[in-house]
Structures are given as structure tokens and as C-alpha cells.
């Protein structure tokens, strides 16, 4: 069943058919959320919220773009709104460098047995540094870099989602990379 057919069926009242779209796009939404939140639990909650939001807005989907593009837009807007609303929570998360659950740590880094606790701490610190560096980018640069790095989308696809030209996407990605590189150099100088 195509996306459009599934949407028509759902709008007729067969809400259980929404499972087709959820199953098809859950990885896409979750991965993008990971790019914004860098945390499994938060991304999981956000994915759930986005699918509820998408269901409630389904009647407004005109089919002018593909469903995935429309869903990407909802994901980006909802994630950015959430981050804007929770600056204090975000700050606490950034400060809580070592608050990641053990299970998550195991999944994030497959640490070989010979690594010392010091190595693990360095990696953990580095992980937090990378996340903070990404989070400190301006919203449009962050969006472009998340779609490029986390979703492996082409500049054309990103331009469609962000509703800007391909040249503008390229410029955003370049500026994001430059900013990240500058932060790296600053870090090495410390």
C-alpha cells in the first residue's frame, strides 16, 4: 500500500492502518530526533509525539510533497520547538556529563575490555563535547547538518525539506562545518 493510499484509508476512519506509516517511517523520525537530542529516551518520546502530531494533522496533508518530506518538516519543527522550550533542561543535560545510563553507554560505545576507566571518561567527555558543539550551531545550520549527517540526505532532498535552494543548503553545511572546525581548534588550544 502506498503512502497516499494509506493516508486515504486512515482518513476514512481506519486508524489502525496508521501502523503502516509508523512502521515505515519510525527509523527516519527517530534518527532525526537523535540528531537533535543525542539521547535515546528523549528521541523515543519525541518520535511518539511526532507521530501523534502527524496523525492529528493528516487531514491537512495535501500531497504536494512526499509524505516523508512532510514528516521531516514536522519532525524538525517539533524538535526545535521542544529545544527552545526547554533551555534549562538542556543546560542541566549538558552539565550532566556523566548521567548517561549504563545500558546506553554500552550501546553507544563498544568499549574494548582493555580500555581503562580513564579512556572511557575521555570518550564520554568527548561525546558530550561533540553534542554540545552540534547543539550550539544556529538552528538552520544544525538542521542542515542533522539531515546531512544523521539521515544521509542529498542536498536536493534537504533543500526540499527546508524549502530553500540547493546552494543555500550547501552554504549552510559549509558554515556548520567551519563552525565545528573552529570549535575543535579552540578545544585543542585549551
Amino acid at each position: 500500500m502506498s503512502d497516499q493510499e494509506a493516508i486515504q484509508t486512515i482518513l476514512k476512519g481506519y486508524k489502525e492502518k496508521y501502523s503502516i506509516l509508523v512502521d515505515r517511517y519510525q527509523d527516519l523520525v527517530f534518527r532525526t530526533c537523535m540528531g537533535f537530542f543525542h539521547n535515546k529516551e528523549d528521541s523515543e518520546d519525541m518520535t511518539q509525539e511526532i507521530f501523534v502530531l502527524a496523525y492529528q494533522s493528516l487531514s491537512r496533508f495535501k500531497g504536494e510533497s512526499s509524505f516523508s518530506t512532510w514528516l521531516y518538516r514536522i519532525t524538525i519543527n517539533a524538535s526545535l520547538n521542544k529545544l527552545r522550550k526547554n533551555p534549562i533542561e538542556k543546560l542541566f543535560k549538558q552539565l550532566g556529563a556523566f548521567s548517561i545510563k549504563d545500558s546506553e553507554k554500552e550501546m553507544t560505545f563498544q568499549i574494548p575490555e582493555f580500555e581503562t576507566p580513564e579512556d572511557i571518561l575521555i570518550k564520554e567527555e568527548h561525546r558530550n563535547w561533540v553534542q554540545n558543539a552540534l547543539n550550539s550551531l544556529p538552528e538552520n545550520q544544525r538542521t542542515a547538518i542533522v539531515l546531512s549527517k544523521y539521515d544521509d540526505l542529498s542536498q536536493k532532498e534537504i533543500s526540499e525539506i527546508m524549502n530553500i535552494s540547493e546552494g543555500a543548503v550547501e552554504s549552510l553545511i559549509q558554515r556548520a562545518k567551519t563552525n565545528l572546525r573552529k570549535k575543535m581548534i579552540q578545544k585543542l588550544k585549551k
Binding site: 496508521y18 537523535m34 496523525y55 550501546m107 561533540v130
Partner: protein
């Protein structure tokens, strides 16, 4: 190639997007420059962090959770009472109770006989039986 040029090309280098000639130049510079080598390793570590984060997958049964949240939201929507109704409803209820009381009292007073009708006639109201007893009957003298 100087450090600035090398560092500018590092992202493309790590993504394998550099032309062969540039790639050779970057590698030659990296072999002799400790600073750029450190920037490169930091960049590679950053790429690793992103790759590791991409490996996460959502928990199973996502749809079940989404559906339950949708149904919960729909129920709240049904239960939602608009503000004007929240103000008007108590007023209407109060007015209905007052009206019901008024109708009840009015109808009751018209239909029921007054209990005063069965009372002792007015001329006997203050009649004192004790006063009628001859006092002397108790008088031993």
C-alpha cells in the same frame, strides 16, 4: 599546503570527497604537522559519535504507544468543555434550581390546605382550663 588549507579540507578528506591530488597533499601535510593531525583525530572522533548515535533504534511496539496516545487525546477532546460553557453551565444550573424551588413553593401553597385551618378557634386560644377549676376544692379550710 599550509595548516589552514589542510584543516579546511579535512571534512572532505574524512568523507572521502577530496580529489586524488588534494588527498595526497593533505596526507603529506598531516604526516609532518602534529597540530593538524590532532584536529583530524578530533574530527574523526566526532564522526564516530554521530555514527554511534545513528545505530540506535526505537523500541518495538511504537505504534501501540502512538495509538494509545491518539485515543487518549481524542477522549480529552470529547471531554473538553469550552470556556463559555464552563461559565454559563453553573449559572444555568443555579437558575434551574431556584426556578424549581419557586414553582414547588407556589404550587404547594396553592394546592395544600393551610394547617392553620385545623387549629383551635381564636376565642379558645387562650382559654385556661386551670383557671376554671374551683380553687377552694383544694382548700382544706
Amino acid at each position: 599546503m599550509n595548516c589552514q588549507q589542510c584543516q579546511k579540507s579535512l571534512y572532505e578528506y574524512s568523507e572521502g570527497k577530496l580529489p586524488e591530488r588534494m588527498k595526497v597533499e593533505v596526507e603529506a601535510h598531516l604526516a609532518n604537522c602534529e597540530g593538524c593531525k590532532r584536529v583530524k583525530s578530533l574530527l574523526m572522533l566526532s564522526e564516530n559519535v554521530i555514527q554511534e548515535e545513528k545505530r540506535f533504534r526505537p523500541e518495538p511496539f511504537l505504534f501501540t504507544r502512538v495509538l494509545s496516545q491518539i485515543e487518549k487525546a481524542e477522549q480529552i477532546e470529547i471531554q473538553f468543555i469550552p470556556t463559555w460553557r464552563r461559565i454559563v453551565s453553573p449559572i444555568m444550573v443555579s437558575l434551574t434550581i431556584i426556578a424549581a424551588l419557586y414553582i414547588g413553593i407556589t404550587a404547594g401553597s396553592k394546592l395544600m390546605k393551610s394547617p392553620l385551618e385545623n387549629q383551635i378557634p381564636a376565642e379558645l386560644t387562650y382559654f385556661n382550663d386551670a383557671a376554671m377549676e374551683s380553687v377552694y376544692a383544694f382548700n382544706e379550710n
